[in-house]
Symmetry: D2
Subunit: 248 residues, 4 copies
């Protein structure tokens, strides 16, 4: 039984994590803390793994405190810069336990992680590739960080394989061809009713491969969070990306 | 039996029309002419309907000549301006036969015509609407004329229903949100292997309606061409758009 | 302001209706009743329209009582047989008010209603047609009532147009071709993560038309429920199907 | 420059291979033979690799003859039984050249091969999985061999991971749930206008992963045939499946 504490337990994601930890057969809830609570109540005695789902402005401080407490941490909060990640690495180097672990995932949805991974494998076999992401209309950034990441994944695979640029005879366009990320066209749709979806289109003469991830709600993150909770402690140091915990 | 002559019979579309006319049970091929052939060989004696599939630079002259010959004409060539259309109307006004007919279609694919028509009906019931068109990478214009037309169809339906603008909280975007046509975002994908495809996405809280047309090859135009051949003569004057021949 | 009472207010659907009625600008909540409550508290003085969302075993009795109270009723409960509908018609014939109205909808999702309606229009123009419905794996009936309805809609349109049966050279099949409803093949997918989705595929040589409805959650029914609330009173007698309230 | 002979050159697939071999920069056409032609004209002097695209009734004899001629063979003909494969292995054991190679692929479309491969990787991470294949209505077998193969791939991955059977509460069904292959439901759609398409649907709470292959025409096989032509000679013995030549 893995003892799991949740930081940000009153937030929408954190609340879902509390439920998922309670429901899973191999995890049990230790402490459920939120803003204002004392994080030093979390110790190796009551907690194996902490799940931190708060906001970018406080997440780094939380993680540094939790490292100091000697517990392993799974981080779901976004907004991590290289500088912040370096601070985490430094803190881990002088952590109480030698094999202490922190895991950060830009996206916990297994379908999204696999879409990115499969796009990277398939890209070198196709002449064309484009990315279409679709989200609810309240999202403020476009395209999504996940779509940008996938575009880079595709672009790197194409470069490694020595592929020519994607074919495109477009002469006149008023903006419909989307944003070009590292040579790959990325399109963002905003539609009421949708949540978070990504589609990778790969084309050859006479054939198309489509890889699509649909995240219908926050519940889509829970299998990935639990996967991280189960695997973080066997991966000492800082690990970034759920693909590290999948057998790919 | 409808006697059909084809002008532009050696072109890719015209060649397909010749085959479709030969295959259909209620049509028979009269004359198959191409560049350099004398169009005045086509007369009411040998021909009921002419299908003209050539290039924009010669199509107007062909149509005016054919009107003068006293036959009905189905035009598949694109590039028609308001000025050119007026010349056709003028010619029809003094045509040999009183009930003579010319039909021009921007798109002969029934799936594409219905997608546009359905989008217009559905648009007023949905908070969000976007258009994604997908074509082969040799296409020079983006977005497609059909997608622009569909965006206008949606926009007009929304205005008539008094809908607010589509919701969109996007604050930062490098171009991924596509081209805004009359308030509707239009995206163009270019992918080897595809031919001509259009997808209309309509969203409400908790639901989505998707209407999609796939034109896999030139054969997709033939049912629409035959529909026009069968209906043109009962619609005297100039008719534009295949929706006029569908029972909608 | 339309005064709306809700019967079944503690159920999952009823609870959503209460929220939708509170949120909409032109409706206000009158009474929210549930099992055990006295329905005769609902009167023309406090209520314009009642929304009934309970279970098939009690819905008929509820509706008959509400008709006797002299109010208009929108029914979301399923399980209506011809016999039950006749009882409603009889009750309406001797209702307190002459123009009293009851509305029953098999499906309140506008995207689902339009998918069915568009399938009926498009069917006569396509050689092939099949229906694929996709639901969560807790659903006990397959295929869905909506998919069966759509298959009948398509079949009737094909018959009216004199179309031949759909082409199908299948010689060996172990069940993969699905259930044949009135000549139309219907397939049912059950997948964790999905809610209620239907896809109509229509095919001609070289082209395909796809019409798809995605109902991601119960919220997808609310725009349709509000549409019914706003329209029921101007349609005296028994009306079945949301398409009657759409301008189609 | 790889010297390629084609057996079955007048067939539809063989004709496409001749074109692809002529078009590619690193291959040149040696002999183009068809039924009635003497296969012993093909020798190591004029040919590096033979592509055999004929019919099941003659393919084994052709391959055995070609092995005897001392050339490497890429086989696109279907209908290979274990017994036939054993005859190929036996012939290879006493072939003129020690490192002689034969390659047989059930499917040359890279998108189809990757769909099957990705389904195998992803299957263990999802609670639900179903397969939908879609083909032209002239196909006599349902479901397709490729879909059956994918169902087995998914089933084996689930078993290896110790997953429970897919959830399915269906109580009443008239056949819409499709054919159950090794515990996985497989659906077959037949639609005019389509060619060969396969969709794998994988579901978890709140999320879906879709992997789809579209083979629009015979041209979709050519990149795979060329990949095989380039790789067969470095894989002595009998190799089955294009995945062996992909860097997966």
């Amino acid at each position: 039984m893995i003892k799991v504490s949740v930081v940000g337990a009153k937030g929408r994601m954190g609340g879902n994590v509390v439920g998922a930890v309670n429901d899973a057969a191999d995890t049990e809830l230790a402490l459920a803390l939120d803003a204002g609570d004392d994080l030093t109540r979390i110790t190796p005695e009551n907690t194996d793994v902490v799940v931190e789902f708060t906001v970018p402005s406080v997440s780094l401080d939380n993680v540094l405190t939790l490292i100091g407490q000697g517990v392993d941490v799974v981080v779901g909060t976004t907004g991590w810069t290289d500088e912040k990640l370096d601070q985490v690495r430094t803190a881990l180097a002088s952590a109480p336990r030698e094999d202490q672990a922190v895991f950060i995932a830009p996206n916990f949805a297994i379908s999204a992680v696999l879409t990115d991974y499969f796009a990277g494998i398939a890209a070198k076999y196709f002449e064309s590739a484009e990315v279409v992401e679709m989200h609810h209309p309240n999202k403020v950034d476009a395209p999504s960080g996940t779509a940008i990441h996938t575009a880079h994944t595709i672009a790197e695979a194409r470069k490694a394989a020595g592929l020519a640029p994607v074919p495109d005879a477009t002469e006149t366009d008023g903006g419909s061809r989307g944003q070009v990320v590292d040579g790959i066209h990325v399109h963002a749709v905003r539609l009421r009713g949708l949540n978070a979806h990504e589609e990778v289109l790969l084309g050859n003469p006479g054939e198309q491969l489509v890889i699509r991830s649909d995240c219908f709600d926050r519940g889509s993150f829970m299998p990935g969070v639990l996967l991280a909770v189960r695997n973080v402690s066997s991966h000492p140091g800082l690990t970034i990306g759920l693909d590290n915990f999948l057998s790919l």
